[in-house]
Symmetry: C2
């Protein structure tokens, strides 16, 4: 067996930060060079960050990205570099460049463009159709591909294998959802078996708006078994010797670009593999990274949030403290005439255990003022949800005022179950910059709370927060289950409707109770207008509310 | 010359309203039949409404649309019907069906799928690749196409012409922007000249979320001259005899489906052509239709809005009154300690001239309460934009409370210049359901105001509203030009940046002043987070804020 020393450069790029991304590339490249790597591999669209969306429609942006690529090429030496960039004008390609010895020695254009779920690549890119090439790096014939290319049976990976590649590189911008690591591993297993070559899969890490790129870069051998793996959710430059099959004849199907010959690296590098996180740990770490990156990449350091003593604001406070440090989190208790004693004591206990700042601003003066101001208009009308929304909006205003005055961001605390049925007040509890748990169903919020306490071996989250019946406390003795089915009935129905794309009549056929189906699906549809005006948040399931699910507001289907 | 009697059925469908759309088809079909039309032609995706977006990802939705199509087919008689629908499973096509004598006699799948600007058709549809057919209707060989198909030089229209079609039908869901009528006419002129056949272009009319379909259906003859045209912005069933070239031999290139033979219709129908509206009239009518359809299609009848006495809320009140009737519009004056006398008198004068309801709720009690509640937190800090936002948010809360209590929708009043630079308060003046003028630059708002007064021959809009310097009145003696360049400098820069997709350095090269470019483009980028949380509104330019312009919030380009 010959081998290729590859650095998996799992870096955290920032969209549009061309200079910054070049610096990040240089830093990882220096690590790769220090370990005498033959090749340093970076994630998809390294130069631009991913996904740059409509920045790609600006010809000047593509031009500046090309100049940034030239700087990377000039910096490259005997360690070859594979970086992603946007290539071409007026047709733009999702591309990678192979750089070495101060120059771009070859490029490749992504051939298969995802245009589903969160992806819109047909909007931006032309698929590549140039003949493929092989690159002789460290004496090994290397084939190159980008992301979706490796998901196609009989596609570019198989073709490169049949054409004499001894290893295939695949660079990615692959966002997480629960269980995605296993899906990727299975895909790579199939591709390696199909092509008979090892595959080096390098993924992006970091949060970009609603997307969470989890890293987890890996190498599979010719049998498809994983032989190296980076951790998820952290930047890492993992240098590993990839064993490549000897006796694969150069077929001559693809032109061979000579980059560098074989080097004797001495003892082989087989660093220990990062373990794969379990479901809740992965979810929690994803939420933390997404929150940290949204706040920091947008130039902020500090957040505030309303602390109600309920489970949702509690878990968001915990995530915020882990993401930003407890000293950068401000909890605000905003009790009303309807707040229970435990809502205040639970919130205070949490703040103290977490070590975050907290303050209390009772909303009664503004509440009373609004009711007086509206009294002439509301004369003769019974109190209804209007008065409940008022309280929530006063709280939203207070949080925004603090954020405006002190330069903080507001974290919102709604979960996916609430976002689905619109159990929230627009401009009230939905007001803020980042909705940390908007893609986490309520039952999973409870699981996360127990996970946090178990993981730390201490009751950071007061048990009373976990066991009390959920309530918005916007009227006397209010409880969620007065308005909604119990969450153990609601969440499965929501998942079948949202992730499962079922119609109401199909849900009834699946065994959900008809009246509940009609009521809940109607609530989900009617709440689309709210979701369009609420902040984005980490997408951690197969279908989040956001670019994943594009339903019209004006929509009478099923009604 | 032989001729074909065609009904251009320019109807206003509703997305997802399968049963309702079938009823709308039946009503127009009855009109077509009453005038002995050979063929009734409906807009793109008639059955589903357009665009149905992710409803198309629900197999059950496509199935139900197919059943609705069967009802249309069963209803069809000797007047053939062309309707748009979604065809196929699991691959879905943007399709049309030709129905006659109780059955579907043929289908066609759109071959060219737009996936740019506001369109995402690659997300939903497979392009058609079945062999094309001709339909003998009224003794004339008819070719059929869908929307984008007719924009392609040498595409389906030319192929059908070369293959013996005597007329080509093109069904559309084409949204407006200023000047689009002329662009369409030029395209049809080219296509007719290229193919040598007349073209029947039927467009959708109506508002669907941010899109405004303006209708303006037309017929061009073999020379590409317009011979029939529907009005814009109204439903219309226009029956016209389309003269078709004789002596075009049936080439046999395409199979011919026999539907109906020639009938003697007697005297030819050549109804007068609707005039093409001028720029401001078209814009105004588009805004009115969009607002009416958003409100009505979402099940509401009545709106409220804040009346500040400024030009923006004034024009929105006028639009609202025209869209919904003045009796369904409630203006709310919400003066503060900083409001000028003229802001109140101007708003009252407007309300009275329009005949809309109005009421006054002074915000001082809530304003004072919030300042008191925040005083301990804000101790030692100077007043800044925080206190200004607070007033705007109190107003937003009041409007939402009225809307919640009385079942109204809130219209927001921000213009495109403000939306661009974020000169607005999130959850304050941006709070509401529909942003009528969000795609209208400030200078155009002034033009619209003068247009309204001229058109009515009376000063509906008080002259003082038009001539006073714009101000948010959130601090003493505030004026927009303290924060922003004058609008005659700002608007052209914004247009070059937004519609023109220029980079900051390109804008400087174009002659815009460097400091202004850097400051304003930065404001536009930083305001992306606000735009994501503001209501949708009518898109009336070539690039609106919405599905047209998809920029990341986390974005360091140019910074």
């Amino acid at each position: 067996m010959s081998s290729l020393r590859v650095a998996l450069c799992q870096i955290n790029t920032v969209v549009g930060d061309l200079d910054g991304n070049v610096e990040r590339i240089f830093a990882a490249l220096a690590e790769a060079e220090a370990q005498s790597a033959d090749l340093a591999v970076f994630p998809e669209m390294t130069i631009t960050g991913y996904p740059p969306e409509d920045l790609l429609l600006k010809p000047g942006f593509v031009e500046e990205n090309r100049r940034a690529l030239e700087r990377v090429a000039q910096r490259s030496g005997s360690t070859a570099v594979i970086v992603g960039f946007a290539d071409g004008h007026p047709d733009v390609h999702n591309a990678l460049a192979v750089c070495a010895h101060g120059a771009v020695v070859g490029t490749y254009h992504k051939r298969h463009l995802p245009n589903y779920q969160v992806f819109d690549e047909e909007r931006y890119f032309r698929p590549g159709d140039e003949p493929m090439q092989l690159f002789e790096i460290g004496g090994v014939r290397v084939g190159v591909t980008i992301c979706e290319d490796s998901w196609i049976t009989g596609g570019p990976v198989a073709q490169l294998g049949a054409g004499g590649a001894q290893v295939v590189i695949n660079i990615n911008g692959s966002p997480m959802y629960g269980g995605k690591m296993a899906v990727r591993a299975e895909m790579l297993h199939e591709r390696a078996n199909e092509s008979g070559v090892p595959i080096v899969y390098v993924n992006l890490v970091g949060g970009q708006d609603e997307l969470v790129f989890d890293g987890g870069s890996m190498v599979v051998d010719t049998a498809g078994e994983i032989t190296a793996r980076c951790a998820q959710f952290v930047e890492e430059t993992l240098v590993v010797d990839v064993e490549t099959p000897d006796g694969v004849p150069p077929t001559g199907v693809f032109p061979l670009v000579s980059v560098s010959g074989a080097t004797d690296h001495g003892e082989a590098l087989h660093p220990p593999m990062a373990p794969v996180a379990d479901r809740l740990s992965e979810l929690y770490d994803g939420l933390v990274l997404a929150t940290r990156d949204y706040v920091h990449k947008n130039g902020f350091s500090t957040v505030c949030l309303g602390l109600s003593g309920g489970i949702d604001s509690t878990i968001v406070a915990v995530i915020g403290a882990d993401a930003l440090g407890p000293e950068n989190v401000h909890g605000v208790l905003m009790p009303s005439r309807f707040s229970s004693d435990h809502s205040v004591t639970d919130a205070e206990a949490l703040a103290e255990r977490l070590g975050i700042h907290h303050r209390t601003i009772a909303i009664e003066p503004a509440h009373a003022a609004f009711l007086d101001m509206l009294a002439p208009s509301f004369e003769g009308r019974e109190p209804n949800v209007t008065e409940e929304n008022l309280q929530s909006r006063i709280r939203g205003n207070l949080l925004m005022a603090l954020a405006n005055k002190f330069g903080w961001l507001v974290l919102t605390t709604g979960n996916k179950s609430e976002a689905a049925v619109g159990y929230s007040t627009l401009y009230g509890d939905t007001a803020g910059a980042y909705a940390c748990i908007k893609d986490v169903y309520k039952l999973t919020v409870y699981e996360l709370a127990r996970f946090v306490n178990e993981q730390r071996g201490t009751e950071v989250i007061p048990e009373s927060v976990i066991v009390k019946p959920p309530s918005a406390e916007l009227r006397p003795d209010q409880r969620d289950d007065q308005s909604l089915p119990p969450y153990d009935q609601l969440d499965p129905l929501l998942e079948a409707y949202i992730e499962g794309d079922a119609t109401p009549s199909e849900l009834i056929d699946q065994g959900f109770e008809a009246a509940m189906v009609n009521r809940i699906t109607r609530l989900v549809d009617l709440s689309e207008f709210k979701r369009r005006q609420t902040p984005l948040g980490a997408r951690v399931t197969r279908k989040g509310f956001g670019r994943d699910r594009r339903l019209p507001i004006t929509n009478r289907f099923g009604r």
